[in-house]
């Protein structure tokens, strides 16, 4: 009497399934290893990890959540790009368009905006956690440096995005922020020991002009949607890779 195979078993026996998933799912030590090793995303993890490292109480999961929020920002950001024109004539109208006309447009923008705030908070908390657990100490010094750079880049991503709605809030916040650039010593027009005029100082580089205008909007847009995120992606890759290479997650000696 032949045993009747279930539908699931039949599917799992096909060549297509087997070509995608290389092993079965019985809970054996070998399979636990393969689950991690045979998956490009999960293989960021080591196969085994100290028990304390899996405790939320120890990690606060803040690094992971920060990265997750970065992905959320990328996805919602790409969707927003379909509706947004980085030109003065349209930028603000597009906000209204998202609010009143685009299906789920307002909630899309809300998630992107609040997600960005949340990401800044989680990245700050992640730094606090890494500090409190002494996880920057040798041999992990350089990964802390990369982390500080990623914190700075996160702030810059958030800051460049702040201008894009082109409302009063954005315009004057960026004006306040970039006027600081003009105060840079030596290379800012209003800074101490200024060596430059207002057409060749730091603020001009940031804004593509002496005040916030069409060029500034375009520059901030390009920085926000591609230039900084690209650097952040590479930075994250190095950051994660080095956790493994620098001896894994920190543990008490």
């Amino acid at each position: 009497m032949s045993e009747k195979k279930s539908f699931t078993e039949k599917i799992m026996a096909t060549q297509i399934w087997k070509s995608i998933f290389r092993h079965d799912f019985k809970d054996t030590p070998a399979n636990r290893g393969k689950m991690i090793r045979s998956n490009v995303f999960l293989h960021l993890h080591p196969l085994r990890i100290p028990k304390h490292a899996m405790k939320i109480r120890f990690t606060w999961c803040m690094g992971g959540i920060t990265f997750f929020l970065f992905l959320v920002e990328c996805i919602t950001g790409i969707l927003l790009m379909f509706y947004y024109h980085p030109v003065v004539e349209y930028a603000y109208m597009d906000m209204k368009y998202l609010q009143f006309d685009v299906p789920f447009g307002q909630i899309l923008r809300n998630i992107h905006r609040w997600g960005a705030h949340l990401m800044v908070m989680t990245v700050m908390l992640h730094m606090l956690r890494v500090f409190l657990t002494g996880s920057y100490k040798p041999p992990r010094e350089f990964n802390w440096v990369i982390g500080v750079l990623l914190l700075t880049l996160t702030l810059l991503m958030s800051f460049t995005g702040y201008l894009l709605p082109w409302d009063q809030l954005a315009y004057w916040a960026i004006t306040v922020g970039t006027n600081m650039g003009a105060a840079t010593p030596f290379i800012g027009v209003e800074g101490p020991f200024s060596l430059v005029d207002k057409f060749s100082d730091v603020r001009f580089v940031l804004l593509g002009g002496t005040t916030v205008g069409a060029n500034a909007l375009l520059r901030f847009y390009v920085a926000h949607v591609i230039a900084i995120p690209a650097v952040v992606f590479v930075g994250c890759a190095i950051h994660f890779w080095r956790i493994r290479k620098d001896g894994g997650i920190s543990r008490p000696l």
Partner: protein, 250 residues
């Protein structure tokens, strides 16, 4: 014979220890860690969706270069720097100080030579750096809270529950500058004491640092504590500048 026996016993013990060690090997990542990560992701997403349904992202009037916003506030994570603008000129609070903060943060692993407290929340063996880092961290948060919730038009101070109208309690304060010579002497004493006292009292952290690291640590900390010092000087003694030069003021 007896020697052989002890050898055999020792071998057995070693084998046993090795076995015990093998048993103690770290647990597999799968399924516990990916599960926790997935759960965190779902919780964060749920929180974000509720937040997004509950509160709309702010959108003001269309940008009008001719109509100045008052107060014009930076985004909250930069508002700490904007708050410091009250106490220091833009070249310092907006450019030099943030640069020092970033470089100083990056320098921490190279300045902290204490090997203790890795991978654990160990306050006791890292008192000095813990206290100073946390003071700096909370000063940052404090500046953000004050700037975000307690500053109104013209950057005047208002409690969060106060309406933003100037009903006269913001009396015009006449600020004065301190004579350069007095300031330079005071600053000289401030830095000299900062350098000498830790060594004089043979503080543990100071003893363990070489000269180079010690100088950098002390300089960074003295610069950090200049901020609250300047806040007190400004708020209580109405001092605007400590040092005035034709090129810059501090």
């Amino acid at each position: 014979m007896a020697e052989e026996k002890t050898e055999a016993v020792e071998e057995k013990a070693a084998k046993k220890a090795a076995q015990a060690k093998k048993k103690e090997r770290n647990p597999y990542v799968w399924p516990e860690l990916p599960f926790k990560e997935l759960m965190s992701a779902i919780l964060v997403m749920a929180l974000l969706i509720v937040w997004a349904l509950w509160l709309d992202a702010p959108l003001g009037e269309i940008a009008t270069p001719s109509r100045t916003e008052n107060p014009a506030k930076a985004p909250w994570y930069f508002i700490g720097l904007q708050e410091i603008l009250v106490y220091f000129d833009p070249w310092y609070s907006g450019v030099v100080m943030p640069s020092i903060i970033m470089v100083g943060l990056m320098a921490i692993p190279y300045l902290d030579t204490n090997p203790k407290g890795v991978g654990e929340y160990n306050f006791k063996s890292r008192k000095f750096i813990m206290i100073n880092f946390l003071i700096g961290y909370f000063m940052w948060m404090f500046a953000i809270v004050v700037g975000q919730f307690m500053r109104g038009p013209s950057w005047l101070f208002f409690w969060p529950w106060e309406p933003w109208d100037d009903s006269g309690h913001h009396a015009e304060v006449v600020l004065k500058n301190i004579d350069n010579n007095i300031s330079l002497i005071a600053l000289g004493i401030y830095f000299a004491l900062g350098f000498i006292l830790p060594k004089l009292f043979k503080m543990k952290w100071a003893k363990n640092l070489d000269f180079m690291r010690y100088s950098i640590v002390v300089t960074l900390l003295l610069l950090m504590y200049m901020v609250p010092v300047k806040v007190v000087l400004r708020q209580i003694f109405h001092v605007r500048y400590l040092i005035t030069t034709p090129w810059f003021n501090i």
